[in-house]
Symmetry: C2
Subunit: 456 residues, 2 copies
């Protein structure tokens, strides 16, 4: 079923893509202090567009970090209210030399648009804005009430929005949240995400000598923080992928038999996934669990980097005074970040080798979540998706974390409809991130139809 | 006993210090390509001074890396010939923020001169040059024949000088080498170093996925190269400091009972060393061996840094595609770098966890060495040192590596007199490297008197 709004979107697609490129050119890397101004620019860009298309009460809301963008349209009497969420910040672009085209010069190739943020999440935020524009332009109004809330700190823990949501402001009153920061399970397969892993992101610092020492003079007597860190990490996770922190798995609940059965029927080929997405010689992880279970329903631990020491070209014979590992753990529903961090911290302090001091710091955390599939907004979404994609929706989880979904639930009582249009090979958080332009177009159409269905 | 040359050195001390500062201002960091020009400048600075003081045939000798500096004075008929060796290159200065005064702005504080290279090795090279100047100025000649050979790649493996020495050129014919790149065992205690550890410096690269991956999406299924690296490193060295590479200790020979007895009589307090030099909560290493044995006569393994992955501020949730550890091992007399590297490489390849590929690369290596204490040049050195310092010389080893000493022996048949004037707390290879100015002065005097004694 088409609609005047869908027709408007189709006619204006080329313009929509051009505008998206302008947004992508702003390097709004939230974790790097030198890009603070760019984050604000991206927020202002979105606010200006919300105003232009006819949203009301548009404004930036300052936080302890990067600003939120708010706007609303509340004239659909007796209709439900959606809180439309996305984020305008992006991950760092390094390693830069692996990008085929520069990360902040959006480039079209083979039906995709390549850029940092193309799909995570600027492309999807822009699809939301363009769906709103199409509805407002075609109908002089929206089929439901809408509050828009975009943030600029999703990639760094979302502290600002979390504090704002926790304060339960009147202008966030709604019936459900619409979150577009997820992906299709496979090309052409309409997908709703109904579960997310939580996480804790930590820094584990190990200190040995009071200063860097010559490894010839002191090697054999002075503690080496890198060796100590390796010994600690090797005790955090065994070679079968099992986390060895005592009690870590105590609160894990397994997916229901129905959910597991549905996952088994998904078009997923582990060998294809290994070859095309991961590209390693072998997949790893806990035996006895499928890849989907391991990435959606089991906690994990990863090391992201170990800054410190000598990292230049060539050789430096130094025993560094300190080393710091960036270590995160993904959590599953029913685990809590606070408990996971406490177990981890006390275990690390216990196993630290003699001669070094350890300092375990929590950088940020987020709750896992599970959305009931029988709520009316999820049902409206499946009708809209069937209309646009011609297929039944599959319900999946994601291994990633969108902490705000947990906050919407806990503080505002909102279930989230997680409707996203990325693809598994879109290289999010990696070089050559992309968004398929057809999915950008069908995404806008799906969002339009969803709001129409939600307003019926 | 004084001499006209010693008197000249005493009168000119202030000038000598000023000139040393000029040399120290040149940031001749051999491992960093951007300092290639500075290395050449340091070489030219030395060559110009050798010419000025009256050395002959002075020239730079190009190598595959930074140039050698050569000069000679060969008019002491029927006297022995010394090959005087030192290096003008220095270690990188990072971490820069831990320096009290900038590393390349030599600064005097409390009787020391602080600068990268102050004692390792520019200060000691300058002491050699100033000893030669004093002898030439006071006597219009030298008491022995002298060939000077300075290199600029000691901190990066000394490939250029090694190739040159291996070619056995006529102009390196000599009777012994005089190497000033070591230290006094303690303040005021004349010391000759008669043993050095060898080393292999390696890079261990671990590769997992074909590209960086999002740790939410892929965590639990994709191999993590940092975790794999930690697991490998934890199997290289146990928590008691013992290297677990099979066969690694097979060729180790213990010091003689006499040597061990002499070491026991040295003024060495492990607790003082822990507190003042290392500054860690505890010393580490193999039980059953003293600290001097562990650092002089036992092999060790150290990790210097683990470049790759995310090392910026804040959080990036990435599973890096690759990680590389800079790992070195110190070797003791009778071990060979080639065998140690082969054992290490095959062990690492065997223990690498499933899902990752490893690449083990040898960056550079050097032989360990032991010098017999009964050779006449070592004996001449002890007489000179007694004269200047008023004490008997102690014979020590060093845990560090001076690969060229092994090359002088193997290719040119030269025993080395390792006479150096650093102190154990001079922070070599670390921030706030220093050289005690009094040791610079007594060092020049000792080198003058040594050449006089060697010519008797």
């Amino acid at each position: 079923m088409s609609s005047p709004a869908v027709a408007f979107a189709t006619q204006n697609h080329a313009r929509f893509v051009g505008e998206l490129k302008d947004l992508l050119r702003i390097p709004s890397i939230s974790t790097l202090p030198e890009h603070k101004g760019d984050c604000r620019r991206a927020a202002e860009f979105l606010a200006a567009e919300l105003k232009r298309i006819g949203m009301e009460n548009v404004r930036l809301i300052d936080t302890s970090g990067h600003p939120l963008v708010y706007g609303d349209w509340l004239h659909a009497a007796a209709k439900p209210t959606a809180l439309v969420y996305g984020h305008y910040d992006v991950q760092p672009a390094d390693p830069l030399d692996e990008w085929i085209s520069p990360p902040f010069e959006p480039t079209e190739r083979s039906g995709n648009i390549y850029s940092r943020g193309a799909v995570d999440d600027k492309g999807q935020v822009w699809a939301q804005v363009k769906a709103l524009e199409s509805l407002l332009a075609a109908n002089k109004g929206l089929p439901i009430n809408v509050r828009v809330l975009f943030e600029g700190e999703e990639e760094v823990g979302g502290e600002g929005i979390a504090a704002y949501v926790a304060s339960k402001p009147d202008n966030l009153k709604a019936d459900f949240a619409l979150v577009s920061d997820t992906e299709l399970f496979a090309e052409g397969l309409p997908t709703l995400c109904v579960g997310l892993r939580g996480m804790i992101y930590t820094e584990l610092e190990v200190r040995g000598a009071k200063t860097d020492l010559h490894s010839g003079m002191y090697g054999g007597a002075a503690p080496n923080p890198f060796v100590a860190l390796a010994q600690i990490i090797a005790k955090l996770k065994d070679e079968n992928g099992r986390i060895e922190i005592p009690g870590f798995y105590d609160d894990v609940i397994a997916p229901s038999p129905e959910e597991l059965a549905a996952w088994k029927s998904l078009p997923f080929d582990e060998e294809h996934y290994r070859k095309t997405e991961v590209g390693s010689s072998k997949l790893v992880g806990e035996s006895g669990f499928s890849v989907l279970e391991r990435t959606w329903a089991r906690p994990t631990l990863d090391v992201h980097g170990i800054p410190g020491g000598f990292t230049g070209a060539g050789a430096k014979t130094v025993i560094p005074a300190r080393a710091t590992a960036k270590i995160s753990m993904r959590l599953v529903p029913n685990m809590t970040p606070a408990k996971a961090f406490a177990l981890y911290k006390s275990y690390v302090e216990k196993i630290a080798p003699a001669g070094v001091e350890v300092d375990v710091r929590l950088i940020h955390s987020g709750d896992a979540c599970l959305i009931p599939v029988n709520n009316p907004y999820v049902q409206a979404a499946t009708r809209a998706l069937h209309d646009v994609w011609g297929k039944d929706t599959v319900f999946i989880r994601s291994g990633g974390s969108i902490p705000i979904v947990g906050d919407f639930d806990r503080h505002l009582g909102l279930p989230s409809v997680m409707m996203g249009f990325g693809l598994p090979d879109d290289n999010i958080h990696a070089p050559n991130e992309k968004f398929k332009l057809q999915n950008f177009e069908l995404g806008i159409r799906s969002l339009i139809r969803f709001m129409e269905e939600a307003g019926h």
